[in-house]
Amino acid sequence: MTIKDIAKKVFLIEILKGMTLTLKMMFTHAVTRQYPEKKRPPFPGFRGLHALVRNPDGKARCVGCGLCAAVCPSQCIYVYTSEGADHTKIVDRYEIEVLRCVYCAFCVEACPFGAVVLTDHFEYSDYSRDALYMDKEKLLSNWDKFMAGKKGEEYFDKFWRPRTEDFTTPENQPIFRGRRPEV
């Protein structure tokens, strides 16, 4: 043991070092966030509560193809359709069991029309399961509340791709593009 080691032991150098560190830390700002008062904004593209997109004309964009329900790994999306006048497809019920969702956003990717989305809203705890079983009306109102207007459009561009136009054929690929216009 050198003299240095002995001095270290006698004067408790290591402990004093630790104590200066803790004292220094006492005068730094705490990293704690006082949650309900000070909220941290979610990162852009955060996958939170579900919503059904409402078109500017006020109707749901969903056509009831059921791809979202097919791709959903936790199988928590239920789509019920029926045939209306003119053989159109009518979406009778569109329900998401939010408590079973794993927020993978596969439904968002699968949807060819960008009709179902995950908003960045994350504070929707409740006392009953029923309140978190979202039917079509609730999902549409979620869109109105959290994503309507410009924000939704931005999100579509940035995070909710791919959509139908991403799956179109490149311009230079030789395929039948309809009859050539006559000169």
Binding site: I15, G18, L21, T22, M25, M26, A30, V31, T32, Q34
Partner: protein
Amino acid sequence: MDILETIMYTGSSNWMLNIVFIFIKIAIVIGVTMLHVAYATYFERKVIGHMQVRLGPMRVGYHGILQPIADGMKLFFKEDIIPADSDKPVFKTAPLIALFATMSSLAVIPFFEGFVIADINIGLLYIFAMSSLAAYGVVMAGWASNSKYSFLGGLRSSAQLISYEVAMGLSLVGVMILSGSLNLSEIVKGQQEYWHGMYLIPQFVAYFVFVVAMFAETNRTPFDLPEAESELVAGYFVEYSGMRFALFFAAEYIGMIIMASIAVICFWGGWTIPPVLLKWVPALAAVPGIVWFLGKVYFHIFLYYWVRATVPRYRYDKLMSLGWKVLIPLALANIVVTSIVKYAM
């Protein structure tokens, strides 16, 4: 002013009046101490929180200032659970012994010039006796709970208290030699003979031993083995709940305050300030002694929190070897050197 002086010096010829004054003093001391205990818990959580870059309690009142009151109310109204297999009379008396033994130490502590409930000549010995008695509460609680965790906690506590009591007693012998008295007020006055007004400087080895033994005596980190949360759940008071738990808790914090007061009285000059400081800044004489006393006590209580936030727990055999192989020889050497110096001078 007349009444205040009589209360302070208990010098009235009417013995009935004297007893009334003593009761008033007791009420003041216990009231103030209990308030300090409540807010010691609050500041402990705050200080350790900030040292760990957290905030500590923030919800009850402004920055959680009413937290100890909320805690107290909660503990008061909690269900009192007594384990079916416990030794009930012992189980019920243990927290009372712990609390009363620590509380009675308050009687001999001079808070400022002349304000002491019992100005007895064996003050220091009395405090040793009382802090040893408090160990009975701990051991009885550990035994009566009939739980292996409490039992281990009680055993550890008894072993720890016995070994550190020796070191603590020996560390204060140096102070006794220098002041020539066991009366705490006399010890404070004896320190005024030095220009620095503290036994801390001639007795720094004793002070070191005392501080380490003080941590062990009050079961605080790094010597909190009797209540090691991670291994013994809570130690000797695992089975206690509600108000009985609160009594142990209060006893522990009063013990901290008393040990801090002893350190202040024996090494830091109690309610006085260094005479040299008084010579430079005569205006300081106007500040009441209780301010200095409390300031020094708060520093020591802060030291408890500071060390708790920094140092991890000792291993049990290391604790014992530190007590017996380092602190006691150090204290003995200190006594020898102090005696020689005192005799030679």
